[in-house]
Amino acid sequence: MHLIKAIVRPERTDRILSDLMEAGFPAVTKFSVVGRGKQRGIKIGDITYDELQKDLLFTVVKDTDCEYVIRTIMKAARSGDKGAFGDGKIFVTPVVEAYTISSGIKESPDGGMEEVQV
């Protein structure tokens, strides 16, 4: 299991979410963040904007789906054919355990499932 964190342009979020839905990965969490990248923000005239508005999308997928989801997000988040500065970044972190609260089912990276007693 992997946690995919994607920092994307807010105006692209709707498209990414609908593409993920079509691809069969409906479960996503999003929140808005501000940040800057390697270009140190945007400089317009004398003013540098270094807190650019972005959306952070947060989804956990199986190891086998990881690559596909990353490609789906990348395709939908890229502006134009070549992409542009500010399109964002994707980070992938391994997840050790995942729990569904309503059923108490615990999923392990090896595919094992068990119910947790509380």
Binding site: M21, P26, F31
Partner: protein, 126 residues
């Protein structure tokens, strides 16, 4: 050291905070987020909800529109993971879909900014 990320219902936050403190986990970070789960929206439900049918409104809990949730992030030593997870499940479970998810990630390092201390000394104790 593990990072526990939980996504829970907003109206359960007060109970969750209280239960965590009672379990000895005092430090946490929470954030308002939007999200959706595995549920797929059924438009007849939406219509039903507009007309005010109780059944349709309750079932909309698992729709695919983005729903406001709280995301809690807690970093704990390995020994406390189980306690945190079971506390979170106990408090947040209603049995309906939309109760949320918990993810456990490996954390590499934790540093207290005030003193520069590193490692598990920074975290809640087992």
């Amino acid at each position: 050291m593990k990072e526990v990320i939980a996504i829970v219902r907003m109206n359960r936050m007060n109970q969750t905070k209280k239960a965590l403190v009672e379990a000895g986990i005092t430090s946490m970070t929470a954030k308002e987020v939007l999200g959706r789960g595995k549920g797929i929206v059924d438009f007849s439900l939406l219509k039903g909800a507009e007309k005010g049918f109780e059944e349709a409104i309750t079932q909309l809990g698992d729709s695919s529109r983005l729903i406001p949730k709280r995301m809690i992030s807690i970093v704990v030593p390995d020994g406390l993971v189980e306690k945190v997870v079971s506390t979170l499940i106990r408090v947040n479970r209603t049995g309906k879909s939309g109760d949320g998810r918990i993810f456990v990630l490996q954390a590499k390092e934790s540093i207290r900014i005030r003193t520069g201390e590193r490692g598990e000394a920074v975290l809640d104790e087992v």
